[in-house]
């Protein structure tokens, strides 16, 4: 290190010196075997159902060129300049419209424009979380939030979902138990629409209950809604933000929901633009936090997005995406039926990008991924990535949105082949025929949840009248009709 050369290599004994420099929170930043393996999914021959990608190839290149030319012609100096930390007003005006399309009315003044939705999660943690503070999240939860929560040393309590999202009674029980320990969560993190990775949507009743509960207990809710406009069937449900704002008669603003939006899934993740709508005091802190993080989001892309929203039929493009993704979802569901049927269960999302499949509990999907990559050149996200505590081992997340239909069919066939081999092998290892897949009924609720036991705070959801567990079959009337034809 003494010579200061860029290529100077730390001698082994100097490593201890680096280590003493690392902040304690970096111990929570984990690389993992899984991440090592994910690097292999980049090989061209691999069909990867692991990405979180939308399909950007559907965006017309000439429109992109036209918009960029427009930005250049009208505002070169502005595009190349810093912008306000909170975001440019022109893009905020567009955000107000996008949110109105989901029935959520917001004030320009309550918005902060961020560098992707991911920055909202980071900023919210940065401004609210001290080491050891509690965040309540769904189980499984967004794998991309897991390292953020870890980096801020949050203590994450995960509530097992069923097919209506986070059960509010389980949430209450968890809150009670925390309260008994003298602890109060800093916020509840939820993805109510087509949850990533679970693929489930929180029911209207649960949404009302959640808002009610949050108000009673004065808790903040971080509502992460990247996919709300990507609904392929069924009726759109109101956002938590709008439910709170309207029922409280607060003139359109919620004072307990921090809403997270993003252009990543309805336009482009490459523009790296997201936003938060938050109660004013929180918004001010987020703004200060953002100053320290990146001063402002890209002016170039803000002007691009503003021009796009102002001049183009952006809703038309969302319709295009919906049609495309709906077909791909159906293709994946059919392929799962054909190749996964016997051993596994999976969610049937009404929108979004992902299906969550759960295999027999003796299969660890992290190990399965190694075999799938090695022998079949196919990849998925192992379920553990969506848990902070090692659960989710027998589940996997499958992306259907960013993948061509023939690759979806082939990818699922390959995974199904490996699963079939493992099931057969397990039968010979236990000297028994392969155990049948758990039947998709309410009586199998214990096995419907990912295999490890839920946290003590969460009571098992075994009431017969309760919604079915997450991975069980959800009715799909539209597709039934289509098949009957």
């Amino acid at each position: 290190m003494d010579d200061g050369g860029r290529r100077a290599r730390p001698a082994a004994h100097e490593l201890a010196r680096y280590e003493s420099l690392f902040a304690a929170r970096t111990h929570g930043m984990r690389s993992s075997a899984m991440r090592e393996m994910m690097a292999l999914t980049e090989r061209p021959e691999v069909i990867s159902l692991a990405g979180g990608l939308p399909d950007t190839s559907t965006f017309p290149p000439e429109l992109y060129a036209q918009l960029m030319a427009h930005v250049a012609a009208d505002s070169t100096a502005r595009a190349l300049q810093y912008g306000p930390t909170g975001g440019m007003a022109v893009v905020m005006e567009g955000i107000v419209e996008v949110m109105a399309a989901e029935g959520t009315m917001v004030d320009l003044e309550d918005i902060i424009v961020t560098t992707g939705g991911q920055q909202v999660i980071d900023l919210v943690c940065k401004t609210l979380i001290d080491p050891g503070d509690v965040i309540v999240a769904e189980a499984p939860t967004y794998p991309g939030a897991v390292p953020t929560f870890g980096a801020y040393e949050a203590d994450v309590v995960q509530i097992e979902m069923d097919d209506e999202g986070m059960p509010i009674d389980a949430l209450e029980a968890a809150l009670d138990e925390l309260q008994a320990q003298g602890r109060r969560p800093k916020f509840i993190y939820t993805i109510p629409n087509f949850q990533n990775p679970g693929g489930v949507t929180m029911s209207l009743e649960r949404r009302r209950q959640l808002v009610e509960l949050a108000r009673e207990r004065e808790l903040l809710v971080l509502e992460d809604n990247p996919y709300g406009l990507l609904r392929y069937e069924g009726e759109a449900l109101p956002t938590l933000y709008s439910l709170d704002a309207s029922s409280a008669g607060r003139g359109g603003a919620s004072d307990l929901v921090i809403y997270l939006g993003t252009f990543s899934k309805i336009l482009s993740p490459g523009v790296r633009l997201g936003w938060a709508v938050a109660p004013r005091p929180v918004l001010e802190k987020l703004n200060l936090g953002k100053q320290g993080a990146d001063l402002c989001s890209s002016s170039v892309t803000q002007l691009f997005v503003a021009a796009y929203l102002r001049e183009q039929d952006w809703m038309g493009y969302i319709h295009t995406l919906r049609d495309l993704y709906r077909r791909r979802r159906d293709t994946m569901l059919d392929a799962l039926e054909e190749h996964f049927g016997e051993h596994s269960r999976w969610t049937k999302p009404q929108g979004g990008l992902f299906i969550w499949a759960t295999l027999p509990e003796y299969i660890d999907t992290t190990d399965l991924l190694a075999r799938a990559l090695e022998s079949e050149d196919v990849a998925f996200v192992p379920g553990r990535a969506a848990y902070m505590d090692g659960r989710g081992a027998s589940s996997m997340r499958l992306n259907f949105a960013g993948i061509r239909e023939e690759d979806i069919r082939e990818g699922i066939r390959r995974i199904g082949k490996v699963v079939g081999e493992q099931v057969g092998l397990f039968g010979t290892l236990t000297e028994s025929p392969p155990p049948p897949a758990s039947p998709p009924s309410a009586t199998s609720s214990a096995s419907g949840a990912p295999p490890a036991s839920p946290p003590a705070a969460v009571p098992p959801a075994e009431h017969p009248s309760k919604p079915k567990p997450l991975a069980d079959v959800v009715e799909l009337p539209q597709r039934r009709r289509a098949r009957g034809r």
């Binding site: 001698a11 190990d367 010979t428 000297e431």
Partner: protein, 322 residues
């Protein structure tokens, strides 16, 4: 000298290999060598031919690189390379073969049984599991035969956990082993060839055992894949705090294993020091241990007063001597 650094590949240890390769490349450049970096893939032979290197530095871990395949190819096209030849690579990469050789040679290695998938599918091996469990005791370790890192290594604490541990190990290899678990300290002895005499017409390599490194896991139950390659997850103590005689015995065992398996250039021998009995057990040998900033071979060399660049230089010079 023109050196082709072979790294990457498509093994599960690709990322580790890329980091090893980058470190080696930097060192070679500091040493004044011309380097060509090759990410190993279907074009390997063509790329090596086109590069016309004086020597290939193999920084591959896991499949292809450590199992002798790349060495075989380089030998076939007449390109000298670092480290062990195909036969030693095969013996090291297959833990079962290595353990059989050690057992036959009287080198202590934990009791084990090994099966391939066929034994379970066609020979009803599952019926023998009870006997194996009885003889190995619990917890027992289940490993894929051919995985270089800790990937796929599972610990079964009861009969019920054995089938899924086997299933996991079979995800990485068609052959797995069940091994008695040794409770104790995790040691590694790296071995490095050093020339006896540079004046002799035929310089002969004399293997040198480097100081013993102890890996102390911090967070995990067991020394796992994640801990192995990340600063801060495992504490390394080098030289390990051991009685002199014990350290010497570990080094002696490592040299015996190195010779037994026919290694050349360098290798790393992993051992356990059993709590209570104080016995040393050899687990496995890595023909191409890591060269990352947290890897054990560079640390051990450093403790012996051999800096990274010198380490790379010595390994490089040992290559054309074959």
């Amino acid at each position: 000298m023109k050196v082709a650094v072979l790294k990457g590949g498509r093994s599960l240890e690709r990322q580790v290999s890329l980091r090893s390769g980058a470190q080696i490349e930097d060192a070679l450049q500091r040493l004044g060598h011309e380097t060509v970096v090759i990410d190993v893939g279907p074009e390997l032979v063509k790329q090596v031919r086109a590069a016309r290197p004086d020597v290939a530095f193999i920084a591959l871990h896991g499949r292809d690189g450590e199992d002798g395949a790349v060495q075989e190819l380089l030998g076939a096209i007449g390109v000298p390379y670092t480290g062990s030849g195909p036969s030693a690579c095969i013996r090291c990469a297959d833990k079962v073969l290595a353990k059989h050789l050690m057992r036959d040679a009287g080198i202590p290695t934990p009791e084990f049984h090994s099966f391939n998938e066929t034994a379970f599918r066609e020979l009803g091996a599952a019926a023998a599991l009870k006997d194996i469990e009885a003889s190995l005791g619990f917890p027992l370790v289940v490993k894929p035969a051919g995985q270089g890192s800790a990937l796929g290594i599972k610990f079964a604490r009861s009969s019920e956990e054995v089938p899924s541990a086997l299933l996991a190990a079979f995800s990485y290899d068609r052959k797995v082993l069940l091994e008695r678990y040794i409770q104790g300290r995790d040691l590694a002895v790296s071995v490095l060839d050093s020339e006896m005499s540079s004046t002799a017409a035929q310089p002969t390599a004399q293997p040198l055992a480097l100081p013993v490194v102890e890996a102390v896991p911090r967070e995990e139950d067991f020394y796992d894949f994640e801990a192995r390659y990340q600063i801060g997850r495992t504490a390394f103590v080098c030289p390990a705090e051991l009685p002199l005689l014990l350290a010497a015995r570990a080094q002696q065992l490592a040299l015996e294993v190195y010779a037994l398996l026919g290694c050349r250039g360098f290798a790393r021998v992993d051992l356990m020091l059993e709590d209570g009995s104080g016995e040393l057990w050899v687990l496995e040998t890595n023909a191409i241990p890591g060269f990352t900033e947290t890897s054990l071979l560079p640390q051990a060399a450093d403790a012996a007063g051999i800096g990274f660049d010198e380490l790379v230089s010595r390994i490089l010079l040992s290559a054309p001597a074959r």
